[in-house]
């Protein structure tokens, strides 16, 4: 395959707090190819969002800082890129959609103003052309009456409509990579399905690579080609979606899949992984999942495993996968 769109190598983003250095992302490597949809899954606090903000270099600083690793976007290391270069990339080559569509739009400007602004930041376009383009984008994301909506204010739209607007804004400059940070979490289920459909269609038509951050394995199964499972700032398992869902190797991934309700079987109680995600910074030697793992061995408590190849395109960070 040609050069990947995004290649994160051993990324380390740490937060410097009063109580010491907290490694929120600790040695994460993820590769995204052109036109591919890669999902990052994991519980809250495992470093998914910090990883995505690191790619855009939008981690609030202080307290956050990228302390190591490389983020190669089409070969260019973004960790070393200047703020000016980052501004050229943001929105134009890498776009981002946030979790909360209700608050991601500025309440005092019309929809058209905001999409137009994104267009005009990166291309030489007159206001009139930008407005035309905004209407076009709104139509593309399936918004009815685009000509009227373009002059409306965010509070007049529903959550699903606003998320469509956010997608229109993100896609306006034809980015090569779209980072979607839990884009459907705040929406109800029917709207969720529509938004996912829309994102998949845009991905296929524009060949935009998508990095989808979610904690919803159902969304992953529906959308992604590849999936990366994160736990406590590390990638613990990665592979093709089918492989991971059918043949998970890491006990954490198995636990995540078991805690999904199944339609075919009637269950008394839903499975849940015992314990909680460790507080970053309070980590000990050995596998980070060991304290919660039902199959933990002595070796797990002493030595942290590497990502071990299980089969082609499937790696797991577990001693059991050898």
């Amino acid at each position: 395959m040609s050069q990947p769109v995004l290649q994160i190598e051993n990324l380390q983003t740490h937060f410097f707090t009063d109580r010491g250095q907290v490694p929120a992302v600790d040695g994460v490597s993820i590769t995204v190819h052109k036109g591919e949809v890669v999902g990052i899954v994991g519980e809250s606090g495992c470093g998914k969002s910090v990883t995505s903000l690191s790619i855009m270099k939008l981690v609030p600083n202080p307290p956050g800082k990228i302390v190591g690793g490389a983020i190669r976007f089409k070969g260019e290391d973004l960790v070393l890129a200047s703020e000016k270069r980052m501004r050229e990339i943001r929105g134009n080559e890498i776009a981002m959609i946030f979790q909360e569509p209700m608050t991601s739009l500025n309440p005092v400007f019309t929809i058209g103003d905001q999409i137009g602004e994104a267009i005009r930041l990166h291309t030489k376009t007159s206001k009139k052309e930008a407005r035309q383009k905004s209407i076009e984008m709104l139509k593309k994301v399936g918004i009815p009456r685009a000509e009227a909506i373009v002059d409306e204010y965010p509070h007049q739209l529903s959550g699903g409509m606003r998320q469509r607007v956010m997608i229109a804004m993100a896609m306006a400059c034809n980015p090569e990579l779209l980072i979607a940070d839990e884009p459907t979490t705040a929406l109800d289920v029917t709207i969720q399905a529509q938004i996912l459909d829309l994102m998949r269609q845009l991905n296929q038509e524009a060949d935009t690579a998508v990095l989808l951050i979610t904690h919803d394995l159902g969304v992953v199964a529906q959308m992604c080609h590849r999936v990366v499972v994160m736990y406590a700032g590390n990638v613990i398992e990665e592979g093709d979606v089918r492989t991971i869902l059918k043949n998970p190797k890491h006990p954490y991934t198995i636990g995540l899949l078991n805690s999904l309700p199944k339609l075919e079987e009637s269950q008394e109680r839903l499975y849940s992984i015992p314990g909680n995600v460790p507080i970053p910074g309070s980590l000990t030697a050995g596998c980070r999942f060991a304290p919660r793992c039902e199959q933990a061995m002595d070796r797990c408590r002493q030595e942290m495993p590497e990502l071990i190849p299980v089969e082609e395109n499937h790696r797991s960070r577990c001693w059991l996968s050898i």
């Binding site: 929105g91 776009a95 979790q99 500025n106 602004e117 930041l121 399936g142 009815p144 956010m166």
Partner: protein
């Protein structure tokens, strides 16, 4: 990319008008009776001030000494003062001064306070420390005392009084804007603006400032009332407008020795101060209700 076929939800009625947040605020304001009264009062004084040369029956600075301290009569509707000048004419011209001082002092403090507040809130660190401590120091003085000190240095005149009032009120607006910026910069739309590659300075002016306008307008309107009172106080102390300027506060202090003999020389300027201040306060309160999103149902 072709158009995506997604099912559309039932759309709103097409005849529903698009309402900007400002128009919506105006609608709420119109329903508020007290605010309407306030607007009526201020509107009246504004018209009086604008038309002063045409509606004032006598010049404000020349009087007939034979006619001094005359009670209200057909010739002099509000009586005459100790110099025989027509009180009505002086009150009419006084409206010009008070509205001018109030408005421009507040514009001055709003502009300076907003710039300092934006810088201090957005950039934080030493910029914030410097500006915030400066505000703390200024707020440690009673405002009228600080204003007196500034006028004492610059010399007593109406312009210097205006400048002093503007300076004294900067921290009020500075702190207000700073606190707005601090909460707004955590908003997701600011993060979204950064994610589309926008510069800090543009985010500040295009996203944060417009969202801070509502509280600035409310406090500014209420601030005009305070500024008018402060101008009157400085005038009363002889540090503001100088004779023969018909400033309301100055009129009060000049006539206070005749308060028993010719109460109308004190009552009408005093009443004018009270009414304009009341008017601005009513508008300010109305605006607060109209612009505060938490008051909406």
């Amino acid at each position: 990319m072709a158009e995506v076929n997604v099912q559309t939800y039932p759309v709103k009625q097409a005849d529903e008008q698009v309402i900007s947040p400002w128009r919506e605020a105006w609608r709420t304001l119109r329903k508020n009776k007290l605010a309407l009264v306030g607007m009526g009062i201020i509107g009246f004084f504004v018209i009086v001030a604008l038309l002063a040369p045409w509606i004032a029956p006598y010049p404000y600075d020349v009087g007939d000494l034979k006619m001094k301290n005359q009670p209200p009569s057909e010739q002099h509707l509000l009586g005459t003062d100790y110099n025989g000048r027509d009180v009505l004419s002086r009150v009419i011209y006084g409206a010009r001064i008070s509205l001018w001082v109030g408005t421009f002092a507040v514009i001055g403090s709003v502009v300076a306070g907003t710039i300092l507040g934006l810088l201090s809130g957005y950039y934080g660190r030493w910029v914030d420390t410097l500006i915030s401590r400066l505000f703390d120091i200024m707020l440690a003085f009673p405002s009228i005392l600080l204003a007196i000190a500034i006028v004492a240095i610059l010399g007593p005149s109406l312009q210097n009084a205006l400048l002093a009032i503007a300076i004294v009120n900067i921290p009020t607006f500075g702190r207000l804007v700073r606190s707005r910026v601090l909460s707004l910069k955590e908003e997701e739309f600011v993060m979204a603006a950064r994610a589309i590659g926008m510069k800090d300075s543009r985010i500040l002016l295009q996203h944060i400032l417009p969202n801070s306008m509502a509280p600035i307008i409310v406090t500014g309107t209420l601030g005009i009332a305070t500024a008018i009172i402060e101008a009157a106080a400085l005038g009363f102390l002889g540090l503001g407008a100088q004779a023969p300027e018909p400033e309301w506060g100055k009129m009060l202090s000049d006539s206070r020795q005749y308060i028993q003999k010719a109460p109308w020389t004190v009552i009408f300027p005093g009443l004018s101060i009270m009414l304009t201040v009341l008017g601005f306060n009513l508008i300010g309160d109305g605006l607060r209700d109209a612009l505060d999103p938490r008051m909406k149902n």
